[in-house]
Structures are given as structure tokens and as C-alpha cells.
């Protein structure tokens, strides 16, 4: 047995499921135990595994315990915590502190009739079978999914009935606080036929502590549903964050995913979409802005399983310092998916000689009559652009910041929630020289 597995054994992890929500519901305990078995057999992936070639996660178990807090932290109305929120009036807010639902900080607001927005932990405690199918082994994409199945302390469950339009966004705020916490959020979104909603997932932690977050969000889109999902990763500078976003789409549904990776030490997002019905459409957007020794890995996978579906993917990265970015965009066009239209782009700006990006498009096409295109670029700041700005009196540093801002704004501008865009722009500008000046002018 490896030293790694040995040390987990010492953590006495196999008894953890008995102390988590749903422990007296037979299906929940059974699912948790078998998922834990799968995790402990495999352990964390090593870099010799192709999917983890560029991302070394072995440090995670060394710095934090893998066991989640079994008791929710004291509900807090701490104004400071609230100040971190982006919530604007009308948003349906759910707050989670170290993975535990905080009823006092949350404010679900007025939901349209029939819409359910609930705490997963509560459903598990009640032994509800509603979430059961989402915990099936076939949904485990990585070993971190197994770990989440075993240890989740909850998250949000959103159910939107057919034809209901949720006008205000659902805002899920995850706050990491406390040293060495292992945090396992789990969100489930079930969108009925022709329903519409926007969901914001915001991961934040301002403390310089070694948190480990392993989060999964599953989305089930019925025919004609239209869901926009925006993940904002702004954890603290020492945090490790492994996330999964997994969508399954029925015919003529629309799914848009935005992934903004601005903060954490070691990060990985696995985003998968299954286009299962004719005429489905998905768009995956992403922006990673990294510096110092940050590491961020995006693995996306789109499965075209049905005819006449459209997928679009726009990812951009800005890398400074000794940061390391990874983009792996896989598109699989299955034999049944004739008439597929898939396009993928990944553009990167390297601001320093020590920054590194590994970008890899991966197209696997088994159908005829398909249109699949992709393009990836890696470059430095354009001297012509900088000179043009400087020739108009703009200071060299500010010129750089403007060009970087313009490059990144291509992605930020794709977010439909207007109140979110300035927040992301400001976080970006916080990191750029003279960004304050640009903020004033926007």
C-alpha cells in the first residue's frame, strides 16, 4: 500500500459516512460507503494517468484532512461574511459555510410557484429518494466524484417545473473559512421542459489557509430548457479546488457554462456535457487569470450523442509569474450525431517567461456530415497594440493592463447577468498594474 493510502487510513475515513447527513437513510449510507470503497481502492490520480498528466494533486492529502466537518459551523450572521456576497436584490441566495448550509445567511426570496430550492443535506436527512439517481456510480467522472459521493455535506437542490421562467438568478455562495477544512459541496439542478434559469456558483475564501474543496454540480435539462450557469472561483491563495460540472441535455435545450478561475493555489474543473436530444445546444466559456505559482486545469468534454446539436467553446487564459494553465477540450461526435456543428477556441496570453500553458484540443469524430473546427493560440502582448496606446499618452503599464483587459473581456462580456460582469472585471483589474485607473473609467 502506498504511503498516501496509508496516511488516509490513519485518518479513519471509513467511519466518516456514519456521521454525515442521511446516515440513517439506508440508500444514502450504502451509496457513501461504496463510493468511499472506490476512492480508497484508487486513491488520488497520479500524473502518469493521461487525464492528470499536467496536474499534480498528490499534495492535497498532505496538507488537509480529507474528512469534512461533520457538525455545521455555528450559524453566523457575521456582516463580514455577508459583505462577500454579490447578491443583488431579488436574487435567490443560498449560503454554505465550509460546505454546510447556513439558513441564517441565506435568503431564498420569492420563488415562482412550483420551484423548489432546498438544502441537499435536509433531503438526505429525510431519506428522500429524489437525489438518489444523481449519486449513481455511472455519474462518477473522476475519483474526486467518488470522494464527493462519499463525503458531501450538502449543497443546493433546484427543481424548476416545466415552462417556468426564473427571472432572478439563483446565487449559491460557498465560503471557505477555517484552517484545513475539507469541503464537499454538491448541487443538483433539475430543469423541466422549456424552463429557464440562471445559476451562479461562487466559491470564496479570503483566508490564507489550506482548504480543500471537492465540489460537484449536476444539471439535468429537459427538452427546451435554457440554463445559464456561472462558476466563479475566488478561493484563497493556498486553497485547493477540484470541481465537476456535469450537464445532460434533452432535445432543443440550451446550456451555457461560464467558468471564471481567478483564485486558488491548485485548481481543476472538469466540465462535461452530454447532448442527448436532437437540436441541443451548449456553450462553454471560460477565463483563467493566474499569477505567482497558481495552477489551473480545465478539462472539458462534450459528447454529441444526438443529431443536429451545436456546441461552442470559448476559453481564454492570462498567465503571469510562474503560473501554469491547462486546457484540454475534448469533443466526441458519436456515430448517431450527424449534422453536428462544433467549434472550439482557446487563446492564451503569457505575460512572463516562466508562465506555462498546456493546451490541447481533442476531437473524436465517428459520424459523417459534421462540422468541427478548433483553434488554439499562445502568445505574448502585442507590441503594435502597446505602441498605439502609448502613442496616445497612455503609460506603458496602463497600456498593458488595457490590452489584457480587452483580451479577457471577450469572455466576461459573454455573461448575461449584467450585475456579475462588473464584479468579474473588477477582480481582474485588481490584479493588473494601474487597474484602479481603468476601473474609474469603466
Amino acid at each position: 500500500m502506498s504511503a498516501q493510502l496509508e496516511s488516509w487510513r490513519n485518518m479513519d475515513l471509513e467511519h466518516v459516512p456514519h456521521r454525515l447527513s442521511g446516515y440513517d437513510a439506508p440508500w444514502v449510507l450504502a451509496v457513501r460507503q461504496s463510493a468511499f470503497q472506490r476512492f480508497s481502492l484508487h486513491g488520488f490520480p497520479a500524473r502518469r494517468e493521461e487525464e492528470w498528466k499536467y496536474t499534480d494533486v498528490t499534495s492535497i492529502g498532505r496538507r488537509t484532512s480529507l474528512a469534512p466537518d461533520t457538525i455545521p459551523p455555528e450559524p453566523s450572521s457575521d456582516a463580514k461574511l455577508l459583505a462577500w456576497t454579490l447578491a443583488v436584490e431579488g436574487m435567490h441566495l443560498m449560503v454554505f459555510v465550509n460546505g454546510h448550509y447556513d439558513a441564517i445567511l441565506s435568503a431564498a426570496g420569492n420563488l415562482p410557484p412550483g420551484v423548489r430550492l432546498e438544502s441537499l443535506a435536509k433531503l438526505l436527512d429525510n431519506g428522500s429518494h429524489l437525489p438518489e439517481r444523481f449519486f449513481e456510480q455511472r455519474h462518477e467522472h473522476t475519483v474526486f466524484s467518488s470522494l464527493n459521493n462519499a463525503f458531501t455535506t450538502g449543497g443546493a437542490v433546484l427543481i424548476i417545473p416545466a415552462n417556468v421562467v426564473l427571472k432572478a438568478p439563483v446565487y449559491l455562495l460557498f465560503i471557505a473559512s477555517g484552517h484545513g477544512a475539507a469541503i464537499y459541496p454538491r448541487n443538483i439542478i433539475i430543469a423541466g421542459e422549456n424552463s429557464q434559469a440562471t445559476i451562479i456558483e461562487h466559491y470564496t475564501g479570503t483566508l490564507d489557509v489550506h482548504n480543500f474543496t471537492d465540489t460537484i454540480t449536476q444539471l439535468d435539462l429537459a427538452a427546451g430548457a435554457n440554463i445559464e450557469h456561472c462558476k466563479l472561483l475566488e478561493e484563497g491563495p493556498a486553497a485547493a479546488h477540484i470541481g465537476g460540472i456535469h450537464a445532460e441535455q434533452a432535445a432543443a435545450s440550451h446550456f451555457t457554462s461560464h467558468s471564471f478561475a481567478l483564485g486558488c493555489h491548485l485548481g481543476r474543473n472538469d466540465i462535461t456535457v452530454k447532448l442527448q436530444g436532437r437540436g441541443g445546444c451548449c456553450t462553454l466559456n471560460g477565463l483563467y487569470v493566474l499569477n505567482e505559482r497558481q495552477h489551473m486545469d480545465h478539462h472539458t468534454r462534450i459528447d454529441h450523442l444526438s443529431a443536429a446539436c451545436v456546441s461552442r467553446e470559448y476559453y481564454r487564459g492570462v498567465l503571469d509569474g510562474a503560473a501554469h494553465g491547462v486546457f484540454n477540450g475534448k469533443v466526441v461526435v458519436h456515430a448517431s450525431a450527424y449534422g453536428t456543428d462544433a467549434h472550439q477556441e482557446n487563446h492564451n496570453l503569457l505575460l512572463s517567461r516562466n508562465a506555462e500553458i498546456d493546451t490541447k484540443p481533442q476531437l473524436e469524430i465517428f459520424a459523417d456530415d459534421v462540422k468541427c473546427t478548433h483553434g488554439a493560440t499562445v502568445g505574448q502582448l502585442d507590441e503594435d497594440q502597446l505602441f498605439y496606446l502609448r502613442s496616445r499618452g497612455v503609460d506603458a503599464d496602463l497600456a498593458r493592463s488595457l490590452v489584457i483587459y480587452g483580451f479577457a473581456d471577450d469572455i466576461i462580456g459573454r455573461v448575461k447577468v449584467a450585475s456579475l460582469r462588473p464584479h468579474i472585471e473588477n477582480r481582474l483589474l485588481d490584479r493588473l498594474p494601474q487597474g484602479e485607473l481603468v476601473k474609474e473609467l469603466l
Binding site: F387, G393, V394, D409, L441
Partner: protein
């Protein structure tokens, strides 16, 4: 206002300007003409401070400044403006953001307070009206997807807003149809003032049908080989550059 003496400039070790002299006073318009490859654009870019254009000899005085010791942004803040032959696209940066950043940088140098959003908008609107430009222009990214005419118009708009003292226009007429050409020429003529100097860099004489310069210089092989009045441009139109270049070569030998 501008005194260029014995200017030698290299790009990648190759000499492009070989002892160029030029003296321009406030209130004057000078045209610099010459065939392709004679060094016209190199002169414009060198005066604006482009990296990679290495001055190996000579000096440039601009007002009371040693121009060559200044960064591009310092030159701009002191009133030097280069209208680019090929204006650069800056995706994601709106014209409004770009203009306001530039204007405030220049105002700061002049000891003036930054313009707030309202005052800035009022100023830009007025200038855009002058140019018959639609306000939607402001929210477009700088030169991104612009037609050739729109790019030139954008340069003229910047010139109007930044109110420079020394304007260098690098082939302002290239790629323009006759209406656009007339429009650009009108805008330049309106900028003429006793406090301001204008340098027109152009390959063709046609622009000078609309802007009558105080002096015309012919550039060949990195040097000014002939200077004269506006009549010189018409002569060039008739005989081409070949005759003057031949004369210059003969003169050098003699």
C-alpha cells in the same frame, strides 16, 4: 517647433534614414513625399518613438525637448500626435475607454483635472458631430472590424479630441475613396492654426490638391533630396520620382 538634424535610423541593423534634416515652424504644413521604401514611414514612427527604430546619429529637438530621450507616451503628452497609416486594432477596449484614458493622461501632464464621464461625453459628442459620426461608435472596440475609412476617421477623431501641437499624418489618404479623402483633408485643414505644425507623409500628390502645404520635401534613400513650395508636388505628379532621384544621384556624384 521641430528640428531634425542629420538623423540616421536603423532597423534590424539596416540603415533606413541616412542623414535627414528637417525644420518645421509653428503654423506651417509640410508635406514629405517619396517613393515606397524611401523612409517616409520610418521617419514618422521614429518621431513617435517606436521601439526597434534605432537612432545611430543625429538629433531631434521638439519645442524645448530632446525628443529622442522621451518615451512615446511623454511625446504624446507634450503634444505630438501620429496618425497611423495602419491604425491598430485593440479588441475588447472600447473607443470611449480608449479616448478617455488618452485624454486624461494628456490633461494630467497639462496640470488639468481628469474629465468625469459627463464632461467627457459632452466633449466627444461635439467632436463626433463635427465628423458626422454616429454615437454608437463609442462602444465599439478600437479599430476592431473597422473599414479602412472608419479607421482613418477614428484617427481624425482622436486628433480633434487630443488637440496636439505637432501632427504627423502617415499616408492619411491611403485606401480612401474621393469623398472620404475630401473629408479627411477638410478635417486636417480645420486643424491648421498658428500654434500648430502639421507634417503630411504621402506617396501621392492628390491629397495636396486639398491641403496646400507651405513646403514640400522629397525623400529618397533616407535623405531629403529636394525641397520646395507646393509647386514641387505638381512637378512630381508630372514627372514622377525618377527624375528627381536621378538629379539627386548626379548631384551627389558632382
Amino acid at each position: 517647433m521641430l528640428a531634425v538634424k542629420n538623423l540616421h535610423v536603423e532597423i534590424d541593423g539596416k540603415e533606413i534614414l541616412s542623414g535627414l534634416d528637417l525644420d518645421i515652424k509653428a503654423g506651417q504644413v509640410h508635406a514629405i513625399m517619396g517613393p515606397n521604401g524611401s523612409g517616409k514611414s520610418t521617419l514618422a514612427q521614429t518621431l513617435a518613438g517606436r521601439d526597434g527604430y534605432t537612432v545611430t546619429e543625429g538629433s531631434v529637438r521638439y519645442l524645448q525637448h530632446d525628443l529622442l530621450a522621451m518615451t512615446p507616451e511623454q511625446r504624446s503628452r507634450e503634444g505630438l500626435f501620429l496618425a497611423f497609416q495602419y491604425p491598430v486594432e485593440i479588441p475588447g477596449v472600447s473607443i470611449a475607454l480608449f479616448l478617455r484614458t488618452a485624454l486624461n493622461a494628456i490633461r494630467k501632464q497639462q496640470g488639468l483635472p481628469a474629465l468625469d464621464a459627463m464632461d467627457f461625453l459632452a466633449l466627444v459628442r461635439a467632436r463626433m458631430q463635427q465628423l458626422d459620426m454616429d454615437e454608437s461608435f463609442l462602444s465599439r472596440a478600437v479599430n476592431d472590424g473597422f473599414s479602412g475609412g472608419e479607421k482613418k476617421r477614428n484617427e481624425i477623431l482622436q486628433m480633434l479630441i487630443l488637440e496636439p501641437r505637432l501632427i504627423i499624418l502617415d499616408e492619411p489618404d491611403s485606401g480612401l475613396d474621393i469623398d472620404a479623402l475630401r473629408f479627411v483633408a477638410d478635417s486636417i485643414n480645420k486643424m491648421r492654426s498658428p500654434q500648430r505644425a502639421i507634417v503630411l507623409v504621402t506617396h501621392y500628390q492628390r491629397l495636396l490638391n486639398y491641403i496646400v502645404p507651405d513646403a514640400v520635401h522629397v525623400l529618397s534613400q533616407g535623405r531629403i533630396v529636394k525641397s520646395g513650395s507646393a509647386a514641387l508636388a505638381r512637378e512630381l505628379e508630372k514627372h514622377g520620382y525618377g527624375l528627381i532621384e536621378a538629379e539627386a544621384a548626379a548631384g551627389q556624384v558632382a
